[in-house]
């Protein structure tokens, strides 16, 4: 199960890298979204995947799932959600102001500001 999850995370990373290397700004942002998905899946896998028990440790529980990775992922999801929202807004504003979403035309040098 862990191996499978690692492969899925790897595929997500590959897709993310592919998208982030493209020229269109929107594709890049979608790429960062996929990157964070891959990261979260990796984080879940890192804690070890156990089945059949709740992540609650009581007096009499024999087995339980490690709750820490789940708590971490929750935090990381919220953060990446916020960052993606900010990124989208800034990208849209940049598109309005600069009139392009092509990264080739966004290179810019000091001379033309």
């Amino acid at each position: 199960m862990e191996i499978l999850m690692c492969i899925v995370a790897g595929l997500l990373f590959a897709a993310a890298v592919y998208l982030m290397l493209s020229k269109s700004l929107l594709r890049i942002i979608v790429g960062t979204g996929l990157l964070s998905h891959g990261t979260h899946l990796m984080l879940l896998t890192m804690g070890g995947l156990k089945t059949g028990a709740a992540p609650v440790l009581g007096e009499n529980t024999a087995s339980y799932t490690d709750p820490i990775p789940q708590a971490l992922i929750l935090t990381a999801i919220v953060i990446s959600f916020g960052v993606t929202a900010v990124f989208l807004v800034i990208a849209y504003r940049a598109y309005q102001e600069l009139g392009t979403d092509n990264m080739d035309q966004l290179k810019g040098t000091e001379a033309d500001d």
């Binding site: 979260h40 070890g48 800034i90 940049a94 000091e110």
Partner: protein, 493 residues
């Protein structure tokens, strides 16, 4: 256990929330910002006195005992940096009154600065590796807003690249924390340190060390990960640039210093040699940039890269002396970089351009600014008895005694290059005969000059009063050199 270590994080948070509600009144924004920044400085000073007398202070958040909950740890290093960051923020806030512009002031500039300080102070104080990530994100989110606030074309263009680089590095950070958790089974930094020293021979620890070097290197702008920095930092106006240049990269350096003294000190022949090599390449890259450009902002920005290289070399040498030098130099560099960027902002404001070839002759009308800038330049280059000297001396001397001759000589030569680049800047901007005669009307710069000059004064006092600072720095160094002190203080064994 006292709750004092929370205050330098809590005050900016509350201030930022209050500021969000009074965004329409610029006067209220300014008053609340100054009161909040000043009280952060005071709380940091009280905490520093407490740490000096009673040793490391820890707070277990929510009363979950370490290592299960999140622990805030104020050792001497973190409180020194928190104090420095708070003082710099206070000066930058004062400087912003006249320079940042009403538009930015009305659109949440001051609350975001407080959020930035919250993130920076939190990163310095936290004792939990995932919490470090969270505070990094708070700091980065604020910096995303600050870099784009005002919405000029160049800012929008550069902010996209800045955000992208940091999103990627944050993703790697989360993965590395996940790896670290699966290897050690803990997130508490002291606990991780104890666990790692039990399994120190495992190669995975070295892999993790390099991963963390990449993450913090991206934030701290070491070679070959600094390419995003010059473009992005040139975009925002001077006060924001001063905050970025003096705080953000230094948080990256602090994180490297903390992790490499607490976690990854077992495989030094590999990790620390790698770091030493990267440090020297960083210095060379920074020197090339600083000498090549004819632009006030770019010269100062490349000087950030040089300083990062020197600090990294100090960490890589990893003796008591070199770590002491690194701590000295870290604090010096935060203060002097903020001062230089604020003074540079004044030069740009007066001349109306950041291009050196179009400037000249400012010394006639602005002598105080000129001589203060020269003094700050000497401090940056490390001319005794100014503040850069003692740190650099310790780093170079330990480099020689450890047989790292090439590194020590490169650090020494870099001082010459730094001196040349900033004195050249001084000559061009202040001394040279201007192409077009200067206007007779003198621009009013008093309210800009006072915060900048007080930072220079602080830097001079820091250099002259090295004897007084020495015991504080040595207490910080003891914790770094002997991780047991840190571990015992947190886990209370």
């Amino acid at each position: 256990m006292i709750n004092l270590p929370v205050l330098p994080i809590l005050i900016p948070l509350i201030a930022a929330i209050v500021l969000l509600f009074v965004s329409k009144s610029i006067l209220a924004q300014r008053v609340v910002s100054v009161i909040a920044s000043a009280s952060t400085v005071v709380s940091a000073m009280i905490l520093m006195a407490k740490v000096k007398s009673d040793g490391i202070q820890t707070v277990d958040m929510g009363s979950w005992p370490a290592p299960f909950g999140i622990t805030l740890v104020s050792d001497m290093l973190s409180i020194l940096l928190v104090l420095t960051a708070s003082i710099i923020t206070l000066c930058v806030v004062l400087y912003s009154f006249r320079s940042i512009g009403n538009g930015r002031e009305r659109f949440y500039y001051y609350p975001i600065v407080q959020f930035l300080l919250l993130g920076v102070n939190g990163s310095f104080t936290t004792g939990d590796i995932f919490n470090l990530f969270v505070f990094f994100e708070i700091m980065l989110m604020s910096s995303y807003v600050l870099i784009v606030i005002g919405g000029t074309k160049i800012q929008l263009r550069e902010s996209i690249k800045y955000i992208l680089v940091n999103v990627i590095s944050s993703a790697i950070f989360v993965i590395a924390v996940g790896f670290l958790y699966s290897v050690t089974g803990s997130l508490n930094m002291a606990h991780i340190s104890a666990r790692i020293s039990e399994i120190s021979t495992e190669p995975i620890i070295t892999v993790l060390a390099v991963l963390f070097l990449i993450i913090f290197g991206l934030k701290g702008a070491i070679f070959p990960l600094y390419f995003w920095l010059p473009g992005s930092y040139a975009a925002p106006p001077a006060p924001i640039l001063a905050l970025f240049g003096s705080l953000l990269t230094k948080v990256g350096i602090y994180a490297i210093l903390r992790t490499y003294t607490l976690f990854f000190y077992h495989d030094q022949p590999f990790t620390h040699d790698l770091m030493s090599l990267l440090a020297l390449l960083t210095i060379v890259a920074g020197v090339i940039g600083a000498l090549a450009y004819r632009d006030v902002k770019q010269i100062l920005i490349y000087n950030i890269v040089i300083a990062v290289g020197v600090l990294l070399f100090g960490i890589a040498t990893m003796t008591e002396e070199s770590i002491a030098g690194t701590v000295f130099y870290l604090i010096h560099d935060m203060i002097i970089k903020a001062a230089l960027f604020l003074l540079g902002g004044m030069i740009i404001y007066i001349a109306g351009t950041s291009n050196l070839t179009k400037m000249g002759g400012l010394i006639r009308q602005y002598p105080a600014l000129g001589w203060t800038f020269l003094l700050a330049s000497f401090g940056l280059a490390g001319i005794p008895p100014l503040s850069g000297f003692s740190g650099k001396l310790l780093i170079v001397r330990s480099g020689f005694s450890e047989g790292e001759y090439v590194g020590a000589i490169v650090v020494l030569l870099s001082s010459l290059a730094v001196l040349y680049s900033v004195v050249n800047l001084f000559m061009e901007a202040f001394w040279k005969t201007p192409e077009t005669p200067l206007p007779d009307v003198k621009k009013r710069t008093g309210s800009l000059f006072i915060p900048a000059a007080s930072l220079v004064l602080l830097s001079v006092l820091y250099g002259v009063g090295t004897e007084a600072v020495y015991p504080y720095v040595m207490q910080a160094v003891q914790t770094l050199i002997h991780p047991e002190i840190y571990i015992d203080a947190v886990l209370k064994e």
